[in-house]
Symmetry: C2
Subunit: 537 residues, 2 copies
C-alpha cells in the first residue's frame, strides 16, 4: 500500500498541478492587451486631460453647485462631449429643488489701522453682501461662557466681529505633498473585510459639546441681533498656512435643540437671514487679534458683493458610448463637477471630471464599440451631500428605504439588474495606486488581472478597505458595485482640499494622464467581459 501510494502520489501531483493550472486558466480574467496598449498610447501621447482641466478651472472655475460657473462648466462639458461624438449627451435634472446658486462678484478686505495691509481672506459660500464699501472697527469676541455675552451688548452695531480665536501656526517641518509608501500600501493590501456597522464612540463628552454648540449659537445670535456688519473667522486648519484659507459654506446658526431635519440649508430660499461671513488667513487674522489684544483700535475696510440665482433643481451631466450586443447593460465612470469656491476646484474635483472626460474621449477616439454601454456622470451637489449622484441612483436604480439598515430595505428598479459597475475619482490629483474594493471580495481576482498592465506604473494594490465621502457611495448604498481608486495623497489634505489653493497649478500632469488611462481601461474591460461585475454578498 505504502509503495503504491508513493508511486501514485507522483502521478497525482502531476494531475493536480495540471488541474490547478487548468482551473487557473479558467478563472483568470482575460485582458485584451492590444486594446490596453492603444488606450495607453492615446492617453499618454495625445492627452487632452490638462486642457480639459484648464477649461474647468481657469475658465469655468470655481463651480459651486447651481452657480453661473457650474452651468458654464456643464455647458462646456456637454458641448465638448457632443463634439467628440458621444451619444445621449444631456443635463440630468434631479427633478427636485436644490436651492439658490451663488457667486462672488467683488471682495476685498483691508486693514486700515493701526497699520495698512491688504488682507488674504475669502467669503464663505452663500454669504450675503455688505452694502457699499464699509470702513469700521473690528471687535474680538472674547466669550468663554454665557455670562461673557453681556460684555458686548450695545457694542457691535456696524462693527466687524472677529468670531474665532487665533489659529496656531507651526513651521512647515513636514512636507505638504507625499506619495504612499510601500508600507502604507501593504497595510491596505492586508486589510481585513471591513465591519458592516463600525462601532461608534460612546457619548462621552456629549454634554460638553452641547454646551459649546449652544454658546456658539448664542454668539452668532449676539452678532446678528446687535447689528454687526460681518463676521470674520480664522482659517481653521493648523496645517493650512502660508496664507492659504479653507472656506466652505456660510454658517446658518441653530441651537443644538433644533433637530437636523428642521434646519434650513444656507442655499435654501427659506434659510434664515445670516450675517456676511469671511474666512481670513491664519497669519492675517492672528495679526488683527494681537493688535486688538494690545488695546489698539483696529479699523478695516470691507467690500463684499455677492449674487444669488433663483432656487431651482440641480442637475448632472450625462453622456455615453452606446454598447452593442449587451447595450442594455451599463458601465459607468464619474466624478463630481461641482466644487467649493475659494480656489478653482482643481483637485476637488476638476481633476476627477477631467480624468473621466479624458477617459471617455480616449475610448471614443479609438473608434471602439463596447459590448455594454459606457456612460459618464458628472455630478452636481456632491459637496452638499452627494446630492447629484444620489438623485441619479434613486431615480434610475432604486433606493434604500431605511438608511439605518443598509442592505435590508433596498428597493431597486429593473435597470439595476443591468447595471454592472461604477468607477469614481475624487481624491485629488494623485496617481491611482490600486482600488478600494469597498468590501467586495468577489472582484478581487478580476481587478488583480486588470491591474497587471499597471504594475510597473506603481498601481497594483487592492484593499478590502472602504473609502467614503464621495459619489461611489450612492451606488454602493443600494448594493450596486461602486469603486474609488487608491490615490497618492500629494497635497490633498494638507493644502488643496476646500482651500484657496485648490488651483490648476496643483495638478500633476503625469498622474492625471495615468489615471485617465486606467479609468479608460477599467471601463473598457468592464464593458467587454463575459459577465457583469459581481456584487457584494
Amino acid at each position: 500500500m505504502r509503495k503504491t501510494i508513493h508511486i501514485c502520489s507522483s502521478f497525482l501531483l502531476i494531475v493536480a498541478l495540471f488541474l490547478a493550472d487548468f482551473s487557473l486558466a479558467q478563472t483568470r480574467e482575460k485582458i485584451d492587451t492590444a486594446m490596453v496598449a492603444k488606450i495607453k498610447d492615446e492617453g499618454m501621447n495625445r492627452s487632452q486631460v490638462m486642457d480639459i482641466l484648464s477649461m474647468l478651472t481657469d475658465i469655468y472655475g470655481p463651480r459651486l453647485t447651481n452657480s453661473p460657473n457650474y452651468r458654464k462648466a456643464a455647458d462646456y462639458a456637454k458641448k465638448t462631449m457632443e463634439e467628440w461624438g458621444l451619444q445621449n449627451v444631456h443635463f440630468d435634472s434631479w427633478n427636485e429643488e436644490f436651492g439658490r446658486g451663488w457667486e462672488l462678484k467683488k471682495f476685498s478686505l483691508h486693514s486700515l489701522e493701526p497699520a495698512y495691509f491688504p488682507m488674504i481672506a475669502f467669503p464663505k459660500a452663500w454669504s450675503p453682501s455688505v452694502k457699499g464699501t464699509v470702513q469700521t472697527e473690528a471687535i474680538y469676541l472674547d466669550i468663554k461662557n454665557e455670562s461673557d455675552l453681556d460684555k458686548y451688548k450695545g457694542k457691535l452695531k456696524g462693527k466687524i466681529v472677529l468670531f474665532s480665536g487665533p489659529t496656531p501656526v507651526e513651521p512647515g517641518f513636514k512636507a505638504d505633498a507625499h506619495r504612499f509608501a510601500d508600507s502604507t500600501l501593504l497595510q491596505m493590501a492586508n486589510a481585513r473585510l471591513p465591519e458592516e456597522f463600525p462601532q461608534r464612540g460612546g457619548g462621552r463628552g456629549f454634554q460638553g459639546v452641547r454646551t459649546a454648540l449652544q454658546l456658539n449659537y448664542l454668539k452668532w445670535e449676539l452678532c446678528r441681533t446687535e447689528g454687526a456688519i460681518a463676521v470674520l473667522e480664522a482659517s481653521p486648519n493648523a496645517r493650512l498656512e502660508d496664507g492659504t484659507v479653507l472656506v466652505s459654506a456660510a454658517t446658518v446658526p441653530y441651537s443644538p435643540d433644533v433637530p437636523f431635519d428642521k434646519r434650513e440649508r444656507v442655499y435654501s430660499p427659506n434659510a434664515p437671514t445670516i450675517l456676511p461671513q469671511i474666512v481670513v488667513s491664519a497669519e492675517h487674522y492672528n495679526r488683527l487679534y494681537r493688535q486688538i489684544q494690545k488695546g489698539l483700535p483696529v479699523k478695516l475696510e470691507l467690500t463684499l458683493e455677492t449674487a444669488f440665482t433663483k432656487a431651482e433643481s440641480g442637475f448632472n451631466v450625462i453622456a455615453e458610448i452606446p454598447g452593442t450586443d449587451l447595450k442594455d447593460q451599463v458601465v459607468m465612470i464619474g466624478a463630481h463637477l461641482d466644487s467649493w469656491h475659494s480656489g478653482t476646484g482643481a483637485t476637488d474635483n476638476a481633476s476627477g471630471s477631467a480624468v473621466c472626460l479624458e477617459a471617455i474621449r480616449i475610448l471614443k477616439k479609438l473608434g471602439i464599440s463596447p459590448r455594454r454601454t459606457i456612460r459618464i456622470g458628472l455630478w452636481g451637489g456632491e459637496e452638499q451631500g452627494l446630492l447629484g449622484s444620489r438623485s441619479y441612483v434613486k431615480r434610475i436604480y432604486g433606493e434604500r428605504l431605511d438608511v439605518s439598515a443598509p442592505y435590508d430595505s433596498i428597493k431597486t428598479t429593473p435597470a439595476a439588474d443591468k447595471f454592472s459597475v461604477y468607477y469614481n475619482m475624487d481624491n485629488g490629483t494623485g496617481k491611482f495606486r490600486g482600488v478600494y474594493l469597498q468590501g467586495n471580495e468577489a472582484v478581487m481576482p478580476i481587478f488583480r488581472e486588470w491591474l497587471r498592465p499597471f504594475e510597473k506604473m506603481g498601481a497594483s494594490t487592492l484593499t478590502l478597505n472602504n473609502t467614503g465621502g464621495t459619489d461611489h457611495l450612492s451606488f454602493d448604498a443600494i448594493g450596486l458595485p461602486g469603486f474609488q481608486f487608491i490615490q497618492d495623497p500629494i497635497e490633498y489634505s494638507t493644502r488643496t482640499h476646500h482651500t484657496s489653493m485648490d488651483v490648476y497649478d496643483k495638478a500633476i500632469e503625469a498622474d492625471l494622464k495615468h489615471n485617465a488611462v486606467m479609468m479608460a481601461v477599467f471601463a473598457w474591460l468592464s464593458a467587454n467581459r463575459e459577465e457583469m461585475i459581481p456584487r457584494k454578498k
Copy 2:
C-alpha cells in the same frame, strides 16, 4: 643611564602633565557661570522677545528703509530702551541722503473677465501709484527677441502688461522648514580657512546674459513708451508657492551699456519715471497667462495708491550700557531694523532686532556693570546694501579705501583700536547652533569655551567658514571682528525671506529666547574678559 632615565621619565611625565594642565588653565577662557545662569533664567523665564517682535511686526511692520513705519519702529525701539534705562539712546544719522521713503496706502487687484477672482499680489517697493481705480485689459508680452517688440506697438496704451513668463509650480514634496542635521554642522566644523579672494566663474555665457538684459530693457521701454498702465510679474521663486509672493524694489530699467555707478536707485529723487509694478502669486499669474493663451480677453481691476516721503538721510538706532574700568572699549550687538514690505519683516529682520533688544534688556535688568561698554545698533538700509552699518563703521571706525584690495587700504580711526567685537543676527528665526568665525582662527578657543553652556542646547559648532549678506560685513571689511551666528534655516529661504509670508507667526518663540540668551552671554563675556577679541591676521 637607562635606569636613571627610566626613573626620571615617570617624574618627567608627572611634571609634563602638570605643566600641560597648568598651561591649559592659562589659555582656557574663564566663564562666569553664575552670570550665565542668571542670564538664562531671565531670558528663558521672563522673556519679552515675542512682545518686542509683535510690536516690530504687527504694529510697526513692515519697516521699509525711511518709510513712516520704519520711523515708528525706531521711535518704539528708542522709547523702549530709554524706559529700560539704557544710556546714550539716539538716532544715528548717516549724514548723507538715502532717498525717498515709501509706503503702500491702498492696493487691490481683481480679475473681472473671463472669471471673477480677487488676486493675491503685492506692489513692488517704491512703485508709483495708478490714478483712480482702473478696469482694463491685460496683455501678455510674448517677446523672445527684438523683432517681437513690434507686435505690441500701439497695443499697450492703458493696458496692464504681463511682463514675465509663467512660474512653474511644483508639488511640495520637500518640507519648507528644517533644522541643520549633524552631518551639515560637521561639514561646517571641518571647514578649512576660506580663501581671501574666491575665484569667480569665467565670462562664459556673458554675451547671452547681455543680450537678455538688453531685451529686458527694451521690453520695459516698450511698456513705458507705449503707455501701459502697470506691469505684472509672476512671483519668481519655484519653491515659494501657495500664494506666497516674493517682492522687493521696483525695477528701474537700464540698458546693460549704462555703468552701475551711473544708474539711479529707485528711491533716489533723481530716478527716472517708472511704471507701477506688481508681483502676482505664481498660481494666479499662471491662471491669467493660460486664459490669455486661450485667446480670451482678460480684464483686470487695479487700485494702487502709494505715497513717497521726502528724500533725506537714513538713520540707525543706537544705545548702550556704559562700561566701567574699560568703558572706552566697545562690544557691540546688532541687527538691521529695516525690512521689505509685503509681509511685516518678521524673520528678516524683526527677529534679529528683537533678539538684540531682548539681550540688552536682560543685561540691563540684571543690574550688571560690564567692564567694557555694551552697545546695540539697529541698522537701517541693510536691504539696500548694508547702508546703515557701513555708514556707522565709516564715520566712527574707518574705511577701506580700495574695496578690491580688502585689507591693504584700510584707514581706521583711534576708536577702532578700542573696538572689541560685533555680533550680528540676520538669518531668520532659527536657533543659534554656533558661530561663523569669518576666517578668524584666533577666536576659536575663546568661543569654544563660551559655547560650553549651550552645548546641551545644540549650539556647539564653530566654523572657519564665512557667511555674508548682512551687517557684520561692514565691520569685517575694515578688519574689526564681526560675527554672525550659525542659525537653523527653518523656513527662511523657502518661505519667508523677502516674501508676503514674512510675518510674526513664522517666528519660533523657543528659538528666539535661546538666541537672546546666547547674544547676551556673548556680549557679557566679551565685555568682561581681560583682552579684547583678537583680530584676523
